[in-house]
Every structure is written in structure tokens, then in C-alpha cells.
Symmetry: C2
Subunit: 263 residues, 2 copies
């Protein structure tokens, strides 16, 4: 207990215990060649004995690779990004890496601060769902990275993964129309979001194809959250209108909020 509280053992402790030089110990531990099976065993045993654990800070320092990856998303609390985070984490672990996760909360300033943190931490790469409109420091970013989300298309040079919003909207509308709802009310995200424009554009196209005037559709905005959906739904319900038979929300959180708008 008293010994276990002391300084963490270094490779030198291992080397001493095994009676070899620290480079030999390193070779044995990294699985390098040029090492007698006998000495390797001795070193490994010594490492176990002293409870040695390689210091990744030191390794990163020497190698220039920290073994860490970054993930910057708007909000880990949203199930969509929780799934993203989970997938990223599993993949990272499988490659022996760790994942630093940051939620920007749709705040460009926070996002920028998080990116700085990632650079200082010397992560080997990052996955980013950008919320900033202008990513002008992009070329100076200096980190390998991939974008997530539709806003990524503002940066055609950057690799990105996004949802096919157009197809999603079409599938949703097809479903509603086939159930007799020709003109569902809409609950969309904030005006600043690119995904919103994409959503709306597809709705318009779909309407035109059906000879429905898009202008008759009731529409409300809100944050991409349960609360946002709830408030938007309330505003819809307040309208002097014959009642909203069907509502199409931009994501699950908003839909949930809309369903709860009564309470």
C-alpha cells in the first residue's frame, strides 16, 4: 500500500530489476527483433513484477503520435451523436487509441476552443461536426480530420460523412402522403443551419411534384432539442387553424418534444 502509492515505475525500474540496460528493456517490451527469447522473458517478468505500464506521454513525445483522437460534436446528449461517439470510440479502441470527446453546444466559440484543445493535446486526428459558418482557419488547422454532417458541404475539399437529407425527407413525405396527409406541418431546425435549407428545399420539390402549393404548409423553427420541438409544436397548436393532422419534425428529439407538447 505504501509502496504502491509511490512513483509509477519507469522502464528504468524494469531494466534494473531484469539486470539489463533500458534500451534492451524497451526492445523486449516493444516486441522488437534482435532479442534473446530468454532475456525477453526476464524483462517481461520484471515488468509485471514492478507493475510497469508504458507512459504514453513519453511515447507520444518521442514518436510524435499521441495515440489519441478527437471528436467534436454539437451535443453528446443527442442520441444521434451518442451513437456517433460510440462508433468512433469502439473503432478507436480497436486501433489501440483513445478518444477525446467535446460537445460544442452549437457554439462556434466553444467549438474553436475545443479544436485548440485537441491541437494542444496533439491528437493524431479528429472527427468534427462543424457548427461554425466560417471555418476560415481550416487550412491552418494542421490536423488530419474528417467532417460529419451536412454543413460539411460548405467545404468541398474536406472529406466528410453526412446523411442524405433529401432522401430522408422524401421517404418521410412519401409515408405521410400514402397515409393521406398531403400537407403536413413542419418543425424545422434554426434558420442558420444548412440542413434546414436542404430539408425545406426537398419538401418544396416534393410538393411541386404533387401539385401542392408549398406555401400552405405550416412551419415552425426551433432548436434541435426536445425543448425546441415542444415549443415549436405549441406555437403550431396556437395557430388559428383547423388542427394539425400530421407533423413532420426535423429530428427525433424535436418529434419527441412535439409529442409531449400537451403536457
Amino acid at each position: 500500500m505504501n509502496q504502491s502509492r509511490s512513483r509509477r515505475p519507469t522502464i528504468i525500474d524494469v531494466a534494473k530489476r531484469a539486470g539489463v540496460s533500458k534500451s534492451t528493456a524497451a526492445r523486449a517490451l516493444t516486441g522488437s527483433s534482435n532479442i534473446t527469447e530468454q532475456t525477453r522473458e526476464r524483462v517481461v517478468k520484471a515488468a509485471m513484477a514492478v507493475g510497469y505500464e508504458r507512459n504514453h506521454l513519453a511515447v507520444g513525445m518521442r514518436s510524435g503520435r499521441s495515440g489519441m483522437l478527437g471528436l467534436v460534436i454539437p451535443d453528446i446528449t443527442n442520441p444521434f451523436w451518442a451513437d456517433v461517439a460510440r462508433g468512433a470510440q469502439d473503432r478507436a479502441v480497436r486501433s489501440g487509441a483513445s478518444l477525446l470527446i467535446f460537445s460544442s453546444d452549437w457554439d462556434p466559440a466553444a467549438e474553436s476552443a475545443h479544436l485548440r484543445a485537441l491541437r494542444r493535446a496533439r491528437v493524431d486526428g479528429a472527427i468534427i461536426n462543424p457548427v461554425a459558418d466560417n471555418f476560415d482557419d481550416l487550412d491552418r488547422f494542421g490536423l488530419p480530420f474528417v467532417f460529419i454532417g451536412s454543413s460539411a458541404e460548405r467545404f468541398p475539399d474536406v472529406s466528410s460523412v453526412g446523411s442524405d437529407i433529401g432522401q430522408a425527407v422524401r421517404l418521410g413525405l412519401d409515408h405521410l402522403v400514402s397515409n393521406g396527409h398531403e400537407a403536413p406541418s413542419l418543425i424545422l431546425g434554426p434558420k442558420s443551419r444548412l440542413a434546414r435549407a436542404r430539408f425545406l428545399r426537398t419538401v418544396h420539390e416534393h410538393c411541386v411534384e404533387r401539385d401542392v402549393d408549398p406555401a400552405i404548409l405550416a412551419l415552425e423553427d426551433g432548436e434541435y432539442t426536445v425543448e425546441g420541438g415542444r415549443h415549436a409544436m405549441r406555437r403550431l397548436l396556437e395557430r388559428p387553424h383547423l388542427g394539425h393532422v400530421a407533423v413532420f419534425a426535423a429530428n427525433d428529439m424535436m418529434a419527441l418534444g412535439a409529442m409531449m407538447a400537451g403536457s
Copy 2:
């Protein structure tokens, strides 16, 4: 573009540019005393000019503090832990730290691997929702840490934060009883989980107080997930029984699954 792709600037680059020694540059940048306001300005300006960003690996190496914290939870995909993660992350960022998040997926082996990763990364501390029954390496863990969850009470010496399951169950049952449901069916977590025993014990107490025989309560187990709740509910519905008027599930995910059991 070509220059920006080159080696990240170090404090030496800053020092050179400012025409001082690297130690002076360090002093200026760390806000140390004993520095002329004039030279500090010059150094700061030089740092900006070359796009200097402090290398946290190196800092951690020297100081022994990595500026990173660890979070090990069963599953980031569960909204409860997503909230936990969000809170931890916000707090960490406020202290200038970063958060390494790991999901163990209820797998003790994965948990143990993640803890090893945290030690190697030299995190300054960790928040852990343990899933392993035996945490016998606890004294050798060698990291400052806090536990989350009811399983933490197996380790009375460890600081922990948990929910008051007893009170939660009582509130839930009170609500049901006051709505006329004297003997709700139960959907609980896996038998291995300590929280389940706690839940069940409180239900029994509550029943006894109401002169209800706990044995008449229908009860099903499942994983703490939407799927687990759905399956459990299906099994409940299959029972030759007069129908389940009320169901009390152990968490929101299971309740959601139960509600969806028909589809």
C-alpha cells in the same frame, strides 16, 4: 500552405523569433514573474506570429500532470450516461482539462482494458461506473478516482456518487398506487446487477407496508436497453394473465422498449 504543413512550431521557434532564450520565452508564455513587460509582449507577439501552441504532451511529461481526465461508463448511448458525460465534460473543460470517454458495454474485461488505457495515458483522475464485480486491483489502481452508481457501495472506502434507488422506487410506487395500481408488473435489470436487488427489496418493503403479497407481482428481467425492455414486455404479455394494467420498468430505456413492445 506549404509552410503551414511543416513541423509544428516549438517554443524554440518562438524564442528565436523574439530574440530571447527559450527559458525566457517559457516564462513569458506561462505568465511567470520576473519578466519585463516589454519582452513579454515581444514573445507573445512572436508566438502568435508563428502560430505557436503549447505541446501538452511535453508539459505533461515535465509536470507529471497530463491535464486529462477519464470517464468509464457502461454505455454512452444510454441517455443517463450521456448526461453524465456531458456534465463531466463541461466541468473538465471549465478547468482546462480534456475528457477521455470509454464505454465498457457492461463487459468487465473491456472495463479493465479501458482502465489500463487511462493509466497509460496518465490521466490525472477518473470517474468510473464500475461493472466488474471484483475490483480487487483497486488498491493497486494508482489513480485518483470517484465511483458512480449503486455498485459502488461494494467498496465502502471509495468516494462515490449514486442515485437513491430506494427513494426512486418509492416515488414510483406511490404514484402508481395513488392511481389505483396496487400490484404493478415489474421489468428489472439483469440478476447480476446490484441495483436490481436494491430495486426489488424496496418493492417488497413497499408491498408489505400495504399488506400486498409481493409474490403476486409479475416480474421479468432484461438488459438495461430498449431491446431488453421490449423483450421483457413481450414475455409479460404472453403470460396467461388478466392483462398488465401497469408496468414499472427499471429505467427509461426499458420503459420505452416496453411501450414499443406491440410493434
